[in-house]
């Protein structure tokens, strides 16, 4: 299988997937669609993937993203965690693990593996997702992608640093130079 990684400048693929958003009975699940990625509120999306629920490296990483949830919120950015496990496995894992119980972001279930495949991050042998991270702008365009092999953890600070660099700043007219395009927020 060739995996062609979805790269910078490309439209994030269309999807509709169930995600675990709560441990409360009746409120556990929510369907996330790719439509939500595109918005007029200047809202960005960070989607990060891990290979399998119930493994060791993953909860550390997921907990790290959760700890930085406020940093993403302050940058008008939705955080989505994802793997190819089903929503029921996600829910069981969250119930089972102390660090995962109060997760503030949705855990997306790509049970059919279609999204991981479209993104080009499906590992050939086990058909699980690599540790991929995507930054998607409010137009639904992939602006940054980083893929780690299965055993390599991520640095959340680096994701935030890249996000800061990507998000437009210096909108102030003081920074306009002659001949430059009008700045759009």
């Amino acid at each position: 299988m060739s995996n062609r990684l979805l790269s910078i400048g490309q439209q994030f693929p269309a999807f509709k997937k169930t995600a675990v958003v709560s441990l409360e009975k009746g409120k556990e699940f929510y369907d996330i669609t790719s439509d939500e990625l595109i918005n007029d509120d200047g809202r960005w999306t960070v989607m990060f993937w891990w290979p399998k629920d119930f493994t060791f490296v993953c909860p550390t990483e997921i907990a790290e993203f959760n700890k930085s949830f406020g940093e993403f919120r302050d940058r008008t950015t939705n955080l989505i965690g994802a793997s190819t496990d089903s929503e029921f496995v996600h829910l069981a894992w969250r119930n089972n693990h102390d660090d995962l119980r109060d997760l503030k972001f949705p855990m997306l279930a790509d049970t059919s593996k279609s999204l991981a495949e479209d993104l080009g991050i499906l590992e050939a042998n086990e058909k699980v997702a690599y540790r991929a991270t995507f930054i998607i702008d409010p137009q639904g365009i992939v602006r940054w992608v980083c893929v780690n092999d299965l055993s390599v953890g991520r640095n959340v600070k680096e994701v935030i640093r890249v996000l800061d660099a990507l998000q437009t700043d210096e909108l102030c007219p003081c920074n306009w130079e002659k001949g430059k395009e009008t700045i759009k927020a």
């Binding site: 406020g70 940093e71 919120r73 302050d74 940058r75 008008t76 800061d164």
Partner: protein
């Protein structure tokens, strides 16, 4: 009047600033009442100022002390003083940062006046301002110049800004470091408008 409950963004910001639970300011109230997303930007600007390639943690804290003292800002002065101590700054270095803010405030007015009027006569009349602390600064000549530049940039004295910048370049400082110090001063000043 019942106290306004601040958003999570603001509460986390106040926690970071180590202020009391019931802390509030009227400026923050205004932002909160209008659900302004600016608070998130301000907080990100402030927190990002603590990550620098060109300034050490201690230097950031000492520049913070100088800018907070210059702004007469109690909350930020306490925050940066504590921060400076935690980063290992001596009482002497902290004192020097406060002294620098005070002295430069005098110099900024005086030299700005000379520059504004451009009359030779005012350059001939002695300033009669004691500047002994500039002699042998405990934080070193270069860092004292950097603090002086940051305070002068905030107070808007063109002559002081150009002189201290030139002196820093002569001492071998990089433009990136100089800009970072001024950037930090600008961010702390913007925070001082709502946190005080």
């Amino acid at each position: 009047m019942e106290a306004l409950t601040y958003s999570e963004t603001t509460q986390e910001f106040l926690e970071f600033l180590k202020v009391k639970n019931d802390y509030h300011t009227e400026s923050l109230d205004l932002l909160e009442q209008g659900k302004s997303r600016y608070i998130a930007d301000l907080k990100v600007n402030f927190k990002n100022s603590f990550e620098s390639e060109f300034l050490t943690k201690t230097e950031i804290a000492l520049l913070g002390v100088a800018i907070a003292v210059n702004a007469n800002n109690q909350t930020l002065r306490q925050f940066f003083t504590l921060n400076a101590k935690e980063e290992g700054a001596t009482a002497e270095a902290i004192a020097e940062a406060a002294a620098c803010a005070s002295l430069l405030s005098a110099n900024n007015i005086l030299y700005r006046f000379r520059h504004f009027t451009g009359k030779e006569k005012y350059n001939e009349i002695p300033a009669r301002i004691k500047m002994n602390i500039m002699g042998r600064p405990v934080s070193g000549k270069e860092f004292f110049e950097l603090m002086s530049l940051a305070v002068s940039a905030v107070n808007g004295c063109e002559l002081c800004v150009t002189s201290h910048e030139a002196s820093l370049i002569e001492l071998g400082s990089k433009e990136e470091r100089i800009f970072e110090a001024v950037r930090l001063a600008s961010v702390i000043t913007s925070v001082s408008k709502v946190i005080y």
